[in-house]
């Protein structure tokens, strides 16, 4: 019973991170119809930026902020300089481009920051909290993880729902040509969208890294889980991505706890295949038929 509860709790915490990462993928997919596979190494690079700040003797929070800001900038730069030319082109080109970027960032990080595992600090305890004499699988950092993702999602929601910039961004994503005719600078909105997505990806990277080890490849599996979560939610829906992330987190936590951690990725693959075969539009799609 206790193991069940702990597995679920651990899954929810991890699911929050997958949700954030899936959200980052969805934001980009919605606006540019590109799945940014390079999101993982982009987040990794910004985590290394944070590590540099920490190594220089500064506080965790400064490092945290530095990573988020560099995520924002990296997203904008990548969209403007690398991705812009393939937007609206054949989708296979965009896929190859983001994968090329994936390899480039990986190799660059290994050259600049080294190719070994390094420990990354956490601002809160990474031991289970005690509730009524028993230790549960929710850590101080876990609570922070959940709160950080919730706050970020709330801010994003507010930005998109209630601000003029958010309205312009949504219009650019849904119908770029009409948005242009209405005076929206669509290119800028796309850049901003990539920047925000990259920031959310960086947050996910920081949360995965906290109290753990980082390495140029440490986010690679997360991009797969984020993608699966996003597809679970329909790939177009931010809310769906969040729900998909939580579901996937719990499901994978159970696979890890009861079967074996080595098979987590296989389980994700199976879940992905099931969703794409049975409900290609995602779990919450109204119209089941959609080209995937």
């Amino acid at each position: 019973m206790q193991q069940l509860l702990n597995t679920a709790l651990g899954g929810l915490t991890l699911g929050m991170v997958y949700a954030a990462f899936a959200l980052a993928l969805v934001l980009i997919w919605r606006s540019t119809r590109i799945v940014n596979f390079a999101q993982a190494p982009m987040a990794m690079v910004t985590t290394f930026v944070a590590l540099v700040v920490v190594d220089a003797g500064h506080s965790y929070w400064l490092a945290f902020a530095a990573a988020l800001v560099s995520g924002l900038l990296l997203g904008a730069v990548v969209e403007r300089l690398v991705v812009r030319p393939v937007e609206g082109g054949p989708e296979i080109n965009a896929v190859i481009l983001t994968l090329g970027l994936f390899i480039v960032l990986h190799a660059l990080a290994a050259v600049v920051f080294g190719n070994r595992y390094r420990s990354f600090p956490a601002p809160f305890g990474v031991r289970g909290l005690e509730v009524g004499g028993t230790t549960i699988a929710l850590t101080g950092f876990g609570v922070f993880t959940v709160l950080a993702v919730l706050v970020t999602m709330g801010l994003l929601l507010a930005l998109f729902r209630y601000t003029d910039v958010g309205l312009r961004m949504r219009a650019s994503a849904f119908n770029p040509e009409v948005a242009r005719l209405l005076g929206v600078r669509v290119g800028r909105m796309l850049t901003l969208g990539w920047a925000l997505a990259s920031l959310v990806g960086s947050l996910a990277g920081l949360l995965i890294a906290g109290g753990s080890l980082v390495h140029p490849a440490y986010m690679d599996s997360v991009v797969v889980y984020g993608f699966v979560a996003a597809v679970l939610g329909g790939l177009d829906s931010p809310i769906g991505a969040v729900v998909g992330g939580l579901l996937l987190g719990v499901a994978l936590s159970f696979v890890s706890g009861y079967v074996g951690s080595q098979l987590v990725a296989l389980a994700a693959l199976v879940i992905l295949m099931l969703v794409l075969t049975l409900r290609p539009g995602g779990l919450f799609a109204q119209a089941a038929a959609r080209r995937v």
């Binding site: 965009a94 481009l97 480039v104 080294g114 797969v224 993608f227 296989l266 693959l269 992905l272």
Partner: protein, 379 residues
């Protein structure tokens, strides 16, 4: 008209299969000469070029001819490699090598059919994501079944003794004793040539034309009576079989099947080879494989000379691959070979004047004409 053209030539140059066999024979001669004069170290390098070439050849058929993308070919190679390792676990295993390779191909083909059937409905980013998941998932299986698959250490591959008749033949042809490395290299290149002849031939047949038709225009292909799903699955299966053969050759060359050999990076670099060569060209895939094999050393040496540590310098090769992928997509979306070919064709056309402009469209026109013929046969 086609028969009239054909009558003018001899049979071997006229038929597609004949031409491919001729090229293959020439290739075989070149391979024997090169391998015979190369050192043991070079032979092993050439062997790895061959297995990368086989996998890249399979991938280029999938991506170039059918428009599908796979980031899972490293994982499919792993399946071929592990099958080989399981069959060659000690010196007295007794299974003849050709059978081992066939078994590796068959098992990979089976997995490819399952993945392909699930992936047949997917396109672009969805397919990329699904196959990326495959690439991440497969090494985990080896770790989980530690008893059977050796876990992190992997499985050792014991190469059976070289059959006496092969030794005799080699001595008769080259006048030298056949070393094990040279034997492995010969096997790998022989497999490559066989695979390429099969792939080249397949892509020229109705099956290949169907793949291209699906790639170029799904709606037109479907109207022409081509079953999209079947065409996609068959392309994936053929491509997976090539990856299986590549995995078998890799296992024999490296004499080990371990999870660390089949990282995401392997799958992605295979894609680099394909992109570099220009999607769909087997020659391009081979060129890409050559770069994957020989570039790392060159670049690493340059890096060390420039003052990088060994570990840092080792990362320069993937850096170059990645940059190449980005640059090719941005500058020459048809790939290096493809772009060069187009430029050459355009120049030739300009010289010939505008009257022959139809010949540029032969490539794109081929699927449409097949569509109509296959419509005729199916209805």
């Amino acid at each position: 008209m086609a028969t009239a053209l054909r009558r003018g030539r001899t049979w071997w140059a006229g038929s597609v299969l004949g031409r491919h066999l001729l090229v293959a024979l020439l290739g075989l001669v070149v391979v024997v000469v090169v391998l015979e004069s190369a050192s043991d170290f070079r032979n092993l390098q050439l062997a790895s070029m061959a297995y990368l070439g086989i996998a890249a050849g399979g991938l280029t058929v999938l991506t170039g001819l059918n428009g599908q993308i796979s980031l899972g070919h490293g994982a499919l190679m792993a399946i071929g490699a592990y099958t080989t390792a399981l069959l060659l676990d000690d010196r007295d295993a007794g299974t003849p090598l050709p059978l081992v390779v066939l078994a590796a191909v068959a098992v990979t083909l089976l997995v490819g059919a399952v993945v392909g059937a699930a992936a047949a409905r997917l396109h672009g980013p969805y397919l990329a994501g699904a196959t990326l998941a495959l690439a991440v998932a497969v090494p985990g299986i080896a770790l989980y079944f530690k008893e059977q698959l050796g876990g992190e250490q992997g499985l050792r591959v014991v190469l059976p003794d070289i059959p006496t008749w092969v030794l005799d033949l080699a001595f008769f042809v080259t006048g030298q004793d056949l070393t094990r490395s040279r034997y492995v290299a010969c096997l790998a290149w022989l497999t490559l040539i066989v695979t390429f002849v099969l792939l080249a031939n397949l892509s020229r047949t109705r099956v290949g034309r169907r793949w291209r038709a699906v790639r170029d225009d799904e709606v037109a292909a479907e109207l022409a009576g081509i079953r999209l799903g079947r065409a996609r699955v068959s392309a994936f299966v053929v491509s997976a079989a090539a990856a299986g053969a590549a995995g078998a050759m890799m296992a024999i060359t490296v004499r080990l099947a371990a999870p660390s050999g089949f990282t995401i990076t392997l799958s992605l670099t295979l894609l680099t080879a394909v992109v570099l060569g220009g999607l769909g060209s087997l020659g391009g895939a081979l060129l890409g494989a050559a770069l994957l094999t020989f570039l790392p050393q060159v670049v690493t040496d340059l890096g060390v000379d420039a003052g990088l540590s060994d570990i840092q310098a080792a990362e320069l090769a993937p850096l170059v691959y990645g940059l190449v992928m980005v640059v090719v997509v941005l500058v020459a979306p048809a790939g290096l070979v493809g772009t060069a070919r187009t430029a050459l064709l355009r120049r030739r056309l300009q010289r010939a004047g505008t009257g022959t402009s139809t010949s540029t469209s032969t490539d794109t026109a081929a699927p449409t004409s097949t569509s109509t013929t296959s419509k005729g046969t199916t209805t």
